[in-house]
């Protein structure tokens, strides 16, 4: 089939789905709306699959399907097409987006069955997919930015989907505005790159990237990539702009799975990978990315350990996992970042959907303290969640193991990485194992703490089929990227992933292959620590449920600090938002109302004042008037005479 047509199908079918459901916004039936929406995405998925098949069939050196629909914005040197590209990187993304997207749409039909705003919900979801596709397919930064902001919008709409709850609406707003902060930086990055290179087109930018790494902090490449990275911290919830993501859990759970775990939040990673030839030439930026990534890994994981809301735990976990991807980017392991992005999409979507299933079963209860022992009520959910758990804590041979291991290996070995970063990564993995095990234990295992009037039941097939599919993917998803060292031992399994991405990923300058012993040691360390940590967590939350409380009592100050998310929100409010609002009130009151306007009145008063002086001289007394005339004559004459 014609590539333009396919591309149009990929992009436009979600849009059409959005329009159809958008115009049916008053309908309540989740079934009809859901089917329309799911079909739209499925069409997109199938078209994507065909496109990717075509791409695979192409010779490796020219693997690229570019379609230009029309000239979007042409002014002077700025030439932006409505152009879209499927290449090795975006191919992966569109398959994830439309594939996972289809599953989640399907799941949503079951999940949103009773909601009155079903048509609206599905419309938003389709709109999201449309924008996400723009983001990943766009052939220039600007087209990417269109999608970039578009997904932010959909995220806003879906977080605040139940808008009658003011808190949920506020969460949506918070997400949008935090993202806007990043977007502003993204814009600056674009400007800087455009002013420097005269183009915003990815392939042109990558081709124009300098060949020598830029050492200055203020160089165009460094500054430009830094700005873009700040944009990425907003979208991908990294320190310091991660604050919106936990709150974003106010949205319907499938949304959390799709947007806030599998797809949108990875956009930042995707963007960096897209521009990797540029980023790699800015070692300073790379360092910042790696440090922020590593810090986020640990930071979010610690918070995750103390939360009680099942979705919040997953949210912090997502932040933490995204940190890994940035860590990978920061050390130059762009392939590994993409790999983790994919596996994470599988297992995190799975876990969110699983949590959705739990919440559904528990009648909207999200507090894990009120769960426990759900294993027997929700067998399928439990099994699939269990697979996801194994994947996320990095147990071989589950998907997460391969990607996380690759990241850690690179971090240790890359000239841009360091053992400290690696240690942070391992610490993160250890903590991950702890809090995920805690989550499993509190939710599915141990004794039931479910209140009596709640009768948990397994979700319908519409919801469990996606769970199963994702479960399978969480198991096998990593097998396409088996590390060489393992591959050699297991009978020369090729690293399909690395080979596939190779043409678009710049090699790390100064890279030296790791010797096998070290690689195994690293692998062993992280897996071993994760196992131990999982064991402790299991002990704490299944065998000795009172122990965590006691420990928490003992380290109360620290516990409180972590439990309250390090008071970051409070600091933001106290140090930035409230002062800003106060400042605004004050400048309005003091400058606008009391200064500028008063100055205007002053001019008026001056005129009036003069007028009243003149009026008071107007006594009606003839003698006085004659005096004025006399004075006038005298003054005039005496002036005239002084020549």
């Amino acid at each position: 089939m014609n590539h333009s047509l396919l591309m149009a199908l990929v992009i436009l079918s979600p849009l059409i789905g959005f329009l159809i459901n958008g115009f049916r916004y008053k309908r309540h039936s989740a079934n009809v709306a859901g089917v329309i929406a799911t079909i739209a995405i499925a069409i997109s998925f199938v078209s994507s699959a065909i496109l990717v098949t075509d791409l695979i069939a192409m010779p490796e050196e020219s693997r690229r399907i570019a379609v230009k629909f029309f000239e979007w914005l042409v002014i002077d040197r700025l030439k932006i097409d409505a152009g879209f590209v499927v290449d090795q990187i975006s191919a992966v993304m569109i398959l994830i987006i439309t594939g996972v997207g289809t599953l989640i749409h399907m799941y949503s039909i079951g999940y949103m069955h009773h909601d009155k705003g079903a048509a609206k919900y599905f419309a938003y979801l389709n709109l999201f997919i449309f924008n996400m596709l723009l983001l990943v397919l766009g052939d220039s930064l600007l087209v990417m930015f269109v999608g970039w902001e578009g997904v932010g919008l959909c995220s806003y709409l879906l977080i605040g989907f139940w808008f009658t709850d003011s808190e949920k609406a506020a969460a949506g707003m918070k997400a949008f505005i935090t993202n806007r902060v990043g977007d502003a930086a993204f814009l600056l990055g674009m400007f800087l790159l455009f002013v420097t290179y005269g183009t915003l087109n990815f392939s042109e930018l990558n081709a124009l990237a300098p060949t020598v790494a830029e050492s200055s902090w203020l160089g165009a490449v460094t500054l430009g990539t830094l700005f873009l990275f700040i944009g990425a911290t907003g979208k991908s919830a990294q320190i310091p702009l991660y604050v919106w993501l936990p709150d974003a859990m106010a949205g319907p759970t499938p949304v959390s799975a799709l947007i806030h775990a599998a797809t949108m939040v990875t956009a930042g990673v995707y963007m960096i990978v897209r521009l990797n030839p540029l980023f790699i030439m800015a070692p300073n930026t790379m360092m910042v990315i790696a440090i922020i990534g590593a810090a986020t890994v640990v930071f979010a994981a610690t918070i995750g350990m103390t939360q009680w809301d099942i979705k919040k735990i997953l949210a912090y976990s997502t932040v933490s996992q995204l940190g890994y991807m940035f860590l990978a980017c920061g050390v130059g392991a762009f392939g590994a970042a993409m790999f983790h992005l994919m596996t994470h999409a599988f297992f995190k979507a799975l876990m969110f959907l699983g949590s959705g299933s739990v919440i559904h079963a528990m009648h909207e209860e999200q507090d894990v303290r009120k769960m426990g022992g759900l294993k027997k009520y929700l067998p399928i959910t439990h099994i699939t969640f269990f697979l996801g758990w194994l994947a996320i804590i990095g147990m071989p041979p589950f998907a997460g193991f391969f990607s996380k291991d690759e990241i850690l290996a690179y971090t240790f070995n890359s000239p841009m990485g360091s053992p400290i970063l690696w240690a942070a990564g391992v610490l993160g993995a250890t903590l991950t194992a702890f809090y995920m095990t805690r989550l499993m234990a509190l939710t599915f295992w141990g004794k039931s703490r479910v209140s009596k009037d709640v009768h948990p039941h397994e979700s319908p097939a519409l919801m469990t089929i996606p769970l199963i599919t994702l479960g399978v993917l969480s198991v096998i998803g990593g097998w396409i990227g088996v590390p060489h060292v393992l591959g050699e031992y297991l009978g020369h399994i090729p690293n399909v992933w690395e080979h596939w991405l190779h043409p678009l990923i710049k090699g790390i300058p100064g890279w030296q292959t790791l010797d096998h012993a070290t690689e195994f040691a690293l692998m062993g360390t992280s897996v071993g620590l994760a196992l131990i940590s999982a064991g402790i967590a299991y002990h704490f939350y299944v065998k000795a449920p009172d122990a965590p409380k006691k420990i928490a009592e003992k380290i109360k100050p620290i516990y409180n600090l972590v439990y309250n998310k390090y008071f970051v929100d409070e600091v933001y409010f106290g140090a930035i938002i409230n002062p800003l609002v106060n400042l605004s009130r004050n400048i309005w009151y003091y400058i606008d109302v009391n200064f500028i306007d008063k100055m205007t009145y002053l001019a008026g008063d001056l005129a009036r004042g003069m007028g009243s002086v003149i009026r008071s001289s107007q006594t009606g007394n003839v003698q006085q008037y004659a005096m004025y005339i006399g004075i006038g004559v005298v003054v005039a004459l005496s002036f005239v005479i002084m020549r």
């Binding site: 005129a607 009036r608 007028g611 009243s612 003149i614 009026r615 005339i629 004559v633 020549r643």
Partner: protein, 485 residues
């Protein structure tokens, strides 16, 4: 030399005609045994007289024509400003015909006085001999004092008449003193005699400088230049509205005509100090007029102050004409401004006159409240007058200011022009107030008479003229300018 030629008679035929027709109403009254004829008849006779006079002025006048041994000149200034004076007189009389304070028992006497005053005005506007100027001035003023005093209104108008008379005499004395000094220094009083020499004279002869300064200051009184303006608000307010309209337009037009003639002697070129004094007077006048007008609640008083301010603008033009190599441009801009100013001021007074439902009725601006709903047409006309006074395009008021300031900028009097526009901003503030009251406030404004009476028609005609003249201001201005060569 001292013989009166036919040409002299033909040239002054407008005055003669006017004087003769002015006699008709009182003659009729006498013949009828001291009984008033119908006031419409009186008015018609007067208007016919004015039309005849106007016709004669247009027919016989022309560039450079002088009469009576260079005592009178019938050039463009005479024709244009004479026409303005006659027109204002006509409109004023139409208003008198319908105003409760003026119509009635002594209407024919009133008309006689008004027309006599107009005769004086024609003399003044044509006078080039300072003595003739003085004669004209007095012929114009004396009937005015009487007119104001004989109003049916109570104390206010008598007081106004007295004030006007006393101060007017004072000013006349100043003027006359100046004339005497000029005579003493040059041995003559004819302006044409020292036309062009004045620049030198003011430098060589202190006597002459004094004289010309006195004369100029005398005119400053007549045209209400601050600080000689103090009579203006009191008199305009106290006098019956039609009289105020007549004074504010006709008197001002002819006084400025004489002023222009004095200035055209190029005295300003010789004396920087005189030049400076006049500039300051212009600035002070604009500020005083505009700021004082802001605070007025009385409509007539407000218009009075606005007329003071307009004198300030006009003085800019006069100064321009005085210092210019090409004084025609400045003079034309003054004439054009007076022409447009006559239309809008007469219009505004016409509305005020209609608001007066009885004698002694004081109209405040707030009394206009709700007029727009009751009399949309009149309100619209009033709006046009006020916007034109404020100088908002496309009314003729804007173009008047444009030509004035254009002339000033052309002469390098940039700072005067800037003062002019800045003070016109203050002007906008008070001109908007009646509009606000008419359109935006609820109220029970009342208008005397029927919806279709002479004053209304006059007002509508004025308003239309103001708008139309805005579009054809170019040709009119060129015509004025051409007539001055």
């Amino acid at each position: 030399m001292n013989t009166v030629t036919l040409s002299d008679i033909l040239l002054i035929s407008p005055m003669i005609a006017l004087f003769l027709t002015s006699l008709i109403p009182i003659t009729v009254k006498v013949l009828r045994g001291n009984r008033e004829q119908h006031s419409l008849a009186t008015l018609s006779q007067a208007l016919i007289g004015i039309i005849i006079s106007l016709g004669l002025l247009v027919i016989f006048g022309g560039a450079g024509k002088t009469a009576f041994n260079n005592g009178l000149i019938f050039d463009g200034v005479t024709q244009w400003l004479g026409a303005v004076a006659l027109g204002s007189a006509a409109v004023g009389m139409i208003m008198m015909y319908e105003n409760p304070a003026t119509v009635g028992k002594q209407f024919s006497e009133l008309i006689f006085l008004a027309m006599s005053s107009a005769v004086g005005m024609l003399i003044l506007v044509a006078a080039v001999d300072l003595l003739v100027v003085f004669i004209g001035l007095e012929m114009m003023s004396l009937p005015l004092y009487l007119m104001i005093a004989m109003s049916h209104e109570g104390k206010l108008s008598k007081e106004a008449a007295l004030k006007y008379f006393l101060l007017g005499s004072f000013a006349s004395a100043i003027l006359l003193y100046g004339v005497a000094l000029i005579f003493g220094s040059t041995g003559g009083t004819n302006i044409l005699a020292f036309m062009g020499d004045a620049a030198e004279l003011v430098q060589t002869s202190r006597l002459f400088l004094f004289g010309i300064t006195f004369v100029i200051l005398g005119f400053c009184f007549k045209v209400s230049i601050a600080p000689f303006h103090a009579w203006t608000p009191d008199v305009y307010q106290g006098a019956p509205t039609p009289h105020s309209a007549f004074m504010a337009t006709a008197v001002k037009a002819v006084s400025f005509a004489a002023f222009l003639r004095i200035i055209a002697t190029q005295a300003l070129v010789g004396s920087d100090h005189l030049f400076d004094i006049l500039q300051w007077l212009a600035v002070i006048t604009m500020i005083v007029g505009n700021t004082a007008a802001i605070l007025q609640n009385n409509l007539k008083r407000m218009i009075a102050y606005s007329s003071v301010a307009h004198s300030g603008y006009l003085l800019i033009g006069v100064i321009t004409a005085g210092v210019s190599q090409n004084s025609i441009f400045g003079a034309s801009s003054v004439i054009f401004y007076l022409l447009s100013y006559a239309f809008m001021t007469l219009g505004a007074f016409a509305i005020a006159s209609m608001m007066e439902r009885s004698e002694n009725h004081i109209i405040n601006i707030d009394d206009l409240a709700g007029l727009a709903k009751k009399r949309p047409m009149l309100s619209l006309c009033m709006t046009v007058f006020l916007l034109s006074l404020a100088g908002i395009p496309p009314t003729v008021g804007f173009f008047g200011k444009f030509y004035l300031f254009n002339a000033a900028v052309g002469e390098g009097l940039l700072w005067l022009a800037i003062w002019g526009v800045v003070s016109s901003v203050i002007g906008v503030y008070y001109y908007l107030r009646p509009i606000v009251v008419m359109y935006m406030k609820e109220g029970e404004a009342e208008i005397a008479g029927h919806s279709l009476n002479a004053t209304t028609i006059t007002a509508v005609v004025m308003a239309l003229a103001i708008v139309l003249m805005g579009f054809v201001s170019g040709p009119i201005f060129s015509a004025v300018e051409k007539s001055l060569f």
